[in-house]
Amino acid sequence: MTVNWERWPALVGRGLLYAICALILLFLVAPILVVIPLSFNAEPSFIFTPGMLRLDAQAYSTRWYEVVLRDPVWLQSIRNSLLLAVLSTLLATTLGTMAALGLNSARMPAKGLITSILISPMIVPPIVAATGMYFFYSRLDLTQTMTGLVVAHTLLGSPFVVVTVLATLSNFDGNLTRAAATLGANPAQTFLKVVLPLIAPGVLSGAVFAFATSLDELIVVLFLGSVDQRTIPRQMWSGIRENVSPAILAMATILIAVSLTLMIALEVLRRRADRRGASVSAPANE
């Protein structure tokens, strides 16, 4: 039996890499994982009780989930969040897809400038955007209204749609539309039957990004919204600042489930797009 002494530094190196990466991954997921068991705390505290550590069944309960799903204030925040996210996602996806189609055209004038303007909500810090919006929207009487929030969230979400759809379109074969046209399809038919099905994964993943952005957005809601427009993040924000109740952790656990679903949905979309040869990737991945 011979030991390959030549290879041991590489093996040690690999082992070290695994160990370091395990720690980094722990750092990444620990704050998420720790929330889940604590949301079943029977006590009204953020602390693991001795009973919980002994795995005593009595120390666990689902009472905080009942609070979140029964309390009218929490229910209102869930309703508002969903309404806001759905409306702004629909708008952002429609407008963003249209804009990307136009920007993809070779004849689009002032392409660079217009793209920068459309992407700008991604770059401007949310607190700065919310400050500007507050002054301006209050003059239009849009503060403390759902309409104002929907407009603001549409703008914050649309850049993701523009970026993902543009990325999908860059792999789109322009001959397909020409082929459709020579076969007698009008522009509407070409779009609906040829273009849209092919760019659908990009459109949908843009929509998922826009949805997640709206669902997680706090600062604009804090500045522009009234108590009637409280959303899940705003409710959690005031919950953390005022009374630290595990109801926040129950909501957090529900949100973790939602984000896992969104993430898996996006992964499925990406695979589907890969199979079709069009690429869909997270904009950060570009």
Partner: protein, 418 residues
């Protein structure tokens, strides 16, 4: 038919058709972009421009007490206390409650930002102005508060009466205008902003560097694993990316609070006792740690996608040419990953500079960043001019950084979500 025998007119028509066709396509492309473009310009860019104008312009005091300011026009603090005319005009204008409740309130509020405590002074003067006129308003006012005998107080009033000024910017960098309109440093205990700007810069730089250090090995592991393992690991990296910032922040509170998981583990391990356990939450440490965790995925992804494209044959070639492993890494592999590292670092830094929610929740006093001042002036002190000025400074910093990073790493990586 060849072009040579085509009549000139036909060629002309053809060119015109082509031009019209071009024109049509241009209009069509523009018209689908237009709705989002208009919406963004009107509801996003215009608010930012409006904010810029608000940071230098505020005519609320100028509109509330125009006559007083008119009298003060030819006056300066070096002349001593203003003439009785100014007192009389001010008393008359404060008494005009028919001008809306804002008249004295506006003056009091704006002057109070410039001269802490001025609210009470103006309020007393307002109450007096409603009563029978005295023989001398100056004496009447001075009896109520000594400030009215102070030329510097009047200079402050004249300053807030200027509809157009850079005083909010002076404030936002800890400078004050004295009674002779000279810039000077704010008193020690009032210097907040420059310190916060620096802290924001250093925390962001530290978080960026820390994230780069953590992201590099992780991205390397992802890039060097089999597709299946890499997919699974990528899910672990992406999960925090998709999880709400508030969820992650509450997770950090659970971990870091005084009786939190980290302290419990430290006590259990015998590293510290209950009396000596460190305070991990509500300070700069918590801000740093939570921000790093929240921003880490943004740098792992670009580094990973660059590493994926580096063919392993390059390294094998370097090795077979006799390069030792470390040399290989430093001279061959690392330089090729730099574009990803730079892209990720700029992505993290630009976002870190504008962070608000996480520092506000876990930062306590020592862990607040400049964004906290914007929120404070928007929601508590209602000093909107100053909030706008700080926002403009922050925005210019971010746009400059963005511009530099575009020059360095080229177009492409843009921040994703939150």
């Amino acid at each position: 038919m060849s072009a040579a025998i085509l009549p000139a007119v036909a060629i002309d028509n053809g060119a015109k058709d082509l031009r019209r066709e071009e024109q049509f396509k241009r209009v069509r492309a523009f018209s689908v972009v237009a709705p989002l473009l208009v919406l963004t310009l009107v509801m996003f860019i215009a608010p930012l421009v409006d904010m810029l104008s608000r940071s230098v312009r505020d005519d609320s005091v100028a509109q509330a007490i125009p006559r007083t300011l008119h009298v003060l026009e030819s006056w300066s603090a070096s002349d001593g206390v203003p003439p009785e005319d100014a007192f009389r005009a001010l008393a008359a204008e404060l008494a005009q409650s028919s001008n809306g409740p804002a008249t004295w309130g506006t003056v009091a509020r704006q002057l109070n930002f410039e001269w802490p405590g001025a609210r009470g002074v103006v309020q007393k003067a307002f109450r007096r102005s409603m009563l029978a006129p005295p023989s001398s308003w100056r004496e009447a006012f001075a009896e109520l508060s000594p400030e009215w005998e102070d030329p510097a107080f009047w200079a402050a009033l004249k300053r807030v009466g200027q509809p157009l000024s850079l005083r909010q910017y002076a404030y936002a960098v800890d400078l004050r205008l004295d009674q002779n309109d000279q810039l000077k440093l704010a008193p020690d205990e009032q210097r907040l902003y420059v310190g916060l700007f620096w802290r924001t810069f250093w925390v962001s730089a530290g978080v960026t560097l820390f994230c780069a250090l953590l992201a590099y090995p992780l991205a390397y592991l992802l890039a060097s694993s089999s597709a299946k393992v890499a997919g699974l690991l990528l899910m672990l990296v992406l999960m925090p990316f998709w999880t709400s910032v508030l969820v992650r922040t509450s997770g950090w509170i659970v971990l870091l609070q005084d009786q939190g998981v980290v302290n419990d583990l430290l006590i259990w391990a015998g590293a510290v006792s209950d009396a000596t356990k460190p305070s991990l939450n509500n300070n700069l440490f918590a801000t740093f740690v939570a921000m790093s965790q929240i921003l880490l995925p943004f740098i792992v992804l670009p580094i990973f996608s660059v590493m994926k494209t580096i063919p392993p044959t390059y390294l094998r070639a370097a090795r077979s040419l006799g390069a030792p492993p470390l040399y290989c890494f430093l001279r061959v592999y690392f330089p090729m990953t730099l574009p990803g590292v730079a892209a990720g670092m700029s992505l993290v830094f630009i976002q870190a500079v504008g962070f608000y929610v996480t520092p506000a929740l876990v930062g306590g006093q020592s862990g607040q960043l400049i964004s906290a001042m914007i929120s404070h002036h928007m929601q508590s002190s209602l000093n909107w001019g100053l909030a706008a000025a700080v926002s403009v400074l922050l925005l210019s910093a971010v746009l400059t950084l963005y511009w530099i990073s575009r020059r360095l790493v080229g177009p492409g990586p843009i921040k994703v979500a939150r």
